[in-house]
Symmetry: C3
Subunit: 279 residues, 3 copies
Amino acid sequence: MIKVQKESENIMIDSSAQLGKNIIVKGDVIIGKNVIIEDNVYIDYGCIIRDNVHIKKGSFIGARSILGEYLMDFYKDKTNKVHPLVIGENTLIRTENVIYGDNIIGDNFQTGHKVTIRENNKIGSNVRIGTLSDIQHDCNIGNYVSIHSNCFIGEESKISDYVWIFPHVVLTNDPTPPSDKLFGVIIDSFAAISARSVILPGVHICEDSLVGAGAVVTKDVLKETVVVGNPAKKICSIKDIKDKVSGKPVYPWRYTFKRGMPWEKSDYETWIKKLDIQK
Amino acid sequence: MIKVQKESENIMIDSSAQLGKNIIVKGDVIIGKNVIIEDNVYIDYGCIIRDNVHIKKGSFIGARSILGEYLMDFYKDKTNKVHPLVIGENTLIRTENVIYGDNIIGDNFQTGHKVTIRENNKIGSNVRIGTLSDIQHDCNIGNYVSIHSNCFIGEESKISDYVWIFPHVVLTNDPTPPSDKLFGVIIDSFAAISARSVILPGVHICEDSLVGAGAVVTKDVLKETVVVGNPAKKICSIKDIKDKVSGKPVYPWRYTFKRGMPWEKSDYETWIKKLDIQK
Amino acid sequence: MIKVQKESENIMIDSSAQLGKNIIVKGDVIIGKNVIIEDNVYIDYGCIIRDNVHIKKGSFIGARSILGEYLMDFYKDKTNKVHPLVIGENTLIRTENVIYGDNIIGDNFQTGHKVTIRENNKIGSNVRIGTLSDIQHDCNIGNYVSIHSNCFIGEESKISDYVWIFPHVVLTNDPTPPSDKLFGVIIDSFAAISARSVILPGVHICEDSLVGAGAVVTKDVLKETVVVGNPAKKICSIKDIKDKVSGKPVYPWRYTFKRGMPWEKSDYETWIKKLDIQK
């Protein structure tokens, strides 16, 4: 049953684990109950895979990552309840991530080091999350979302497809802290939130907008709008921003940028036309 | 003497350790000299408990946490000096915390993941510190203080009881960086410091005040005052803030919020009257 | 050949490793191929030293640090390519650092906990990097640079000698995010960047200048200039800043501060005169 290529004797795999073909498990790894590991998965040194984790094929789990981390209900009686974690195909998780149970993560997920993801999140495919970022619980993150280093994504944030969140951004949610109210931030598709900005509770950032670095966003940001400052104010339309070298418009960015995007092999217009035809 | 429920042979416990009843120690744990572990403590995989650490009863120490971490004097001769760490009862430390020696921490302490706490801090009871927060040395933190994710608490900060510090807040201390002067921030009881604000050296934030998200606080904040902006300026009294739904006043928050507070089972007024009568 | 003082049997050292005298290796350490460890190095519990790492004499590597971490090319075929990492003499790396291959780091390097350093950086001697800081790739960091806790140093940053960067500072690089352009921040000698400020792409911060806490720096900062605010604006010359107690000028700081600097044993003027004479 266990056909794993074990590198060390100091590996503990619960007998209930279902393991596919061509799996590599390095030393000091612990694998709990009802874990499913599909083919061609690589688990680096010292990972702790707690119970009810399902890792899909071709994934890499970096050294000392903890998957299926305990929720609060564990600590009362030190007994792990059933909180499944599903990690999609071809995931690349770097070292020392902590990902809780009760999460569903799509394919081609990629993280930096020391990322924390709490419970009850729905994360789409082709999402990237940078080093030290901290995703709280009950968030909804679309496809092709890029969250850079050290962002804080507060509970109940809703982030649509193709959103960019740059380093040290904070999404808040409590309108009158401390309180029991939670108004998550809503970010629509193709919006870009620049480094070290903070978005206040319940703010809605609309499609194609751009939040400047260090902004404190207290009000909704309209479509295709650029806001900067503390408090953030509109300074122009995204269409007014020109590339300093070429002098050409840069935004909406989907027409000028394609690395890692589904239109990478052609361009956005060609890709979207094909999609439309397929429909 | 050692009645510990060991899960693995790869556990090293120094013979000087004093261990209570019903202790669980998972694999790859190292326990140093003169460590005291009271009853019903659970130490998860890979923790390093260095010398002179005292963990009181009912506590949980998350995977790979390092307790009693070396101070600077270790590195000169690679010999650990006596720097005791005391951790109160019913503590819940999540994974990968690093807590130095020479700290006294009260009961019911709770942390997120990857918290760092340096030496010479006095931390009260019922304190919570969020994921990635970094507490520097020589701080004084009262009771029922909540420090959220990824805060930086500079040396010589003084934080009174019932203070709330939200994600990514920075408390500074050097008035003319770089210098050898240290003027820690002082935060009085019931103050709330919203996300991603920074407080300048020596600033005194008075009771019941509210610092807005992203504020840069350069001057003292008076009692019951709301400040926002860069530089932060007073915009109103906390009593002017109404709940958006109910239209009722929200602050002082102790009259409208009770989760995790000692008045949780009744309300602040009832609780404080009882306390007064008991005196 | 291997004269190492091993504390545990659970240590894996590749036979190609070249090990000096008086090396201490604690338990659960893994040492890869073509690793060179010079005399008097101490490697604490659970470190992973991947291939082609050279640790110079007298260095201390904190528990669970990962040196020579995989670059992106590893993940394609799970084979480590040659990306050497050189760590200078008398380095003090605290716990849980991740330092990639293809880095050259000078002597007397010192880090806090959980620092991440990506590939292709050149880091001078006597550099200090604080807890949680994240150094991206292709940066150039001079000598006697101090980067405090939780800073983000974006790709292609250029930081000269004697620069101070305080907690939670972000150096950005993408002028029109997301794009494939990279304009790294340039910081000249003796500049001080206060806590939680953010520097926009391509900004040049000149010698002896001072950026205030929480500033959002959108334009170049001239020599000896103090800027604060969002957007940051000049408020005075550094020479206008007086010590609050003594009333004396504080800046340029090299005349008033010497802890950890090469002029520590005398003063800057004496030291620089000696250097000039030696030339």
